[in-house]
Subunit: 452 residues, 2 copies
């Protein structure tokens, strides 16, 4: 049995290791256009920040380790074409092109940064996006000799790099075309993120919302500033493009594989694409939302890891349904933790629910304890049934763990009425007497139609 | 309508405030033998430690606040007898005894420390147990002039006071009659707590297990040391009795109210005792365990708070079932967080389950991040059905929040197979790529009878 895996960062690397354990006699090979395999891309912003000294800490399994376990890894070897009728892929490396046979193919091509349509965006060497190891190394090296940065886009990567740059003494202009930062959160919660960042701003960054960069200016191949639609000019030593990512699904589309409305590869619960013997996993494919059942695209490292495992199980003949995701995620920026799970307000409306909300701000411990922080929690339920739909938390360390309790409730399809009975741990250093989650449920009980 | 509440720390204070809001025209009075009302008893060890300067931080609602909202509070007024036939209680204060009529009576008499049968235990003024505000003040004042302490009993209070004393520069002998500390945890987890404490021991405490104090020695009314069964002598400036608590249920028993096998007052889901118009809540009463349905006695502040609310609702005529508890709890000692929910191993066996376990030790963040701690998580499920039964966590900050996700799963009666699909948040500063909870579920999947 010959198993070919395209891509080897998270899903691909996981799939390779798993399938080799399941089928020790199979031939497993990873082809990737990347210079590295099996690494923690989520850790790149923290490497740039200097949370650890050596980027090699990010490497999970080396090529040698893969080889030792009998897996061949071909770096800088791009799969240019999938030939489903022939069960072959066309691979090109620097020197030549060649065809590789497969019995099972696993597509784990990931996603890539969106390059915004800005004049000069490709003209300067100090304009970066962050996706791969070498991006991280290049950004860190440039940062160390920089005084100012412009970050375009204020999602996860944008805010993580804002933190990294500010912690390294740079002044940062953060530019967001929407009227609020972190737009994947609900409006009220992203406004709260903004407030908390403003409070921790020691004149070392400026946030510009509803602002569009029209041109990157520079000389001798080096960007020196950006111009915006409103007429501002911001000088800079480094420009980051962090306006989002898109799935690397073109190679699948070219092969006739069905692509979902999200633009990512559509798979069933067995991680099978529309073409026999071809599986997909990780950032290149869609998943089902566990709450709504709708197809969504949630490109996250935790999801990629799981999907890689399920793709391997099914490719190896072990029937294993991947049910879907809740879209649970977390990051931090300076002293603010932000985390979410389940549907956003917009998704809830789109998927036909009538959402009701509770927003609760409480201390993260009993107020008399030292080092008290604040957590604001938004919990959403369906008005008619009381079914919990999602939640978001912004605040001090620990905000994210409330979201994990909520994710578990979503998994179990609990209602507000049921969660209200939850017995959560309490001790003064760990939470207020009544956890913000329970306070939120009490409020929601008064807003849902079914009695509590 | 005259509502009389006996006791006013957590459950009683909560019940009073709630019922007055529900029935503004009712007469609500609290009678307590305590010198204070409505305070955070759980915060006393942290007051002693010096985490905050003034014990008044622990007071939730003052007598004046109760009075302003129309609730009468009688401090140092002990209810000596309940007369159900007459619907009266007999109250004694320093000056006189009197009878008080009630339409509804809520018993919230709490619990009291067990005084172990040790020679000299009542002979010395520097022998304390910790339950009330004045205990906390006395212990703190004595601690500030002490160099050595003996703590007898290594449960929550014992370990919390070990921390408080060590942080204040005292040398502590911690004495436990069992062969392990924190015996409410499973054996393996309490051994792990011991290991972690030993590691953080900078020669400032000694733990003596399987050791029984036979005599407290002293002179002029001041204890100066303890003798143990094995013949040891430990000099000390302060002795703490923290061998456990028992419910203040005698007054209910005397009135003919049914007492459960646990020794606490038996109540139904409406917090009603066996006698009409008499309710009980808080540490003096039993509760149902949400997993097994058995009666248990789980005296915790979080539970007392909820039970006070349910007692008030039902006494006010608002039908509200309190389903029960999971026994979720948490504390810390030095740098170790310890937390549990659901059944212990012993309870699971007692209640007829065939428990299987997974024990997982993982970093609390991705290992390359700074300030990495370790969390050990034990998760238990029923072998036949895969139903999750409970779990315990020991380790760095954040250990407890895994337990809250697990508590939510217990509430929803999730199986291992279901929880394995959970979508928990991930980012390098917050957890490893695969959360310890999910690793535990993968291991359990191989141990339960139903396939995963």
């Amino acid at each position: 049995m010959k198993i070919v895996i395209i891509g080897g960062v998270a899903a691909g690397a996981k799939a390779a290791a798993k399938i080799k354990r399941l089928l020790p006699d199979s031939e497993v090979s990873i082809y990737t256009d990347d210079t590295h395999v099996s690494y923690s891309a989520c850790g790149l912003p923290y490497y740039i920040e200097g949370n650890f000294a050596d980027y090699t800490s990010l490497l999970v399994r080396s090529v040698e380790e893969f080889n030792t376990s009998g897996i061949d890894v071909y770096l800088e070897s791009k799969v240019e074409k999938i030939l489903p009728a022939q069960q072959q892929v066309l691979v090109c490396n620097k020197k030549h092109a060649f065809l590789v046979d497969y019995d099972k193919l696993i597509i784990a091509t990931g996603a890539r940064p969106i390059i915004p349509n800005i004049a000069g965006v490709k003209d300067y060497k100090n304009v970066y996006s962050l996706r791969k190891i070498e991006d991280g190394i290049a950004i860190r090296n440039k940062m160390l000799e920089s005084k100012r940065a412009v970050v375009i886009g204020s999602g996860f990567i944008g805010l993580e790099l804002l933190e990294a740059f500010v912690r390294n003494g740079l002044f940062v202009d953060l530019i967001e075309k929407n009227d609020r930062i972190m737009p994947s959160f609900d409006t009220d919660m992203s406004e709260l993120i903004r407030q908390r960042l403003d409070q921790s701003n020691d004149n070392n960054f400026e946030i510009h919302t509803s602002e569009i960069v029209t041109e990157i200016l520079g000389e001798n191949g080096v960007a020196t500033g950006v111009k915006t639609l409103s007429g501002k000019y911001m000088p800079t030593d480094i420009v980051i493009l962090s306006v989002g990512i898109k799935p690397n699904s073109e190679i699948a589309r070219d092969a006739g594989i069905v692509i979902g409305d999200t633009g990512a590869i559509r798979v069933n619960k067995l991680m099978q694409t529309s073409i026999e013997n071809i599986y997909a996993c990780g950032d290149c494919c869609e998943e089902r939302h566990l709450i709504s059942g709708n197809y969504v695209w949630v490109p996250l490292g935790s999801t990629a890891n799981k999907e890689g495992e399920y793709a391997a199980l099914n490719a190896a003949g072990v029937y294993s349904e991947f049910e879907g995701v809740l879209g649970s995620s977390v990051t931090r920026c300076l002293n603010t933790t932000m985390s979410m799970t389940g549907l956003t307000e917009a998704q809830a409306l789109e998927f036909g629910y009538t959402p009701v909300f509770a927003i609760v701000s409480k201390t993260d411990k009993v107020a008399y304890m030292p080092n008290v922080g604040e957590i604001t929690l938004k919990v959403m339920a369906d008005k008619a049934s009381g079914l919990l739909l999602g939640g978001q938390a912004v605040g001090s360390i620990g905000a994210d763990k409330r979201i994990n309790a909520l994710a578990t409730a979503l998994l179990g399809r609990l209602t507000v009425q049921e969660f209200k009975r939850n017995d959560l741990t309490y001790s003064p250093p760990f939470s207020p007497t009544i956890d913000p989650l329970l306070t939120a449920m009490s409020i929601l009980c008064k807003k849902v139609s079914r009695p509590c």
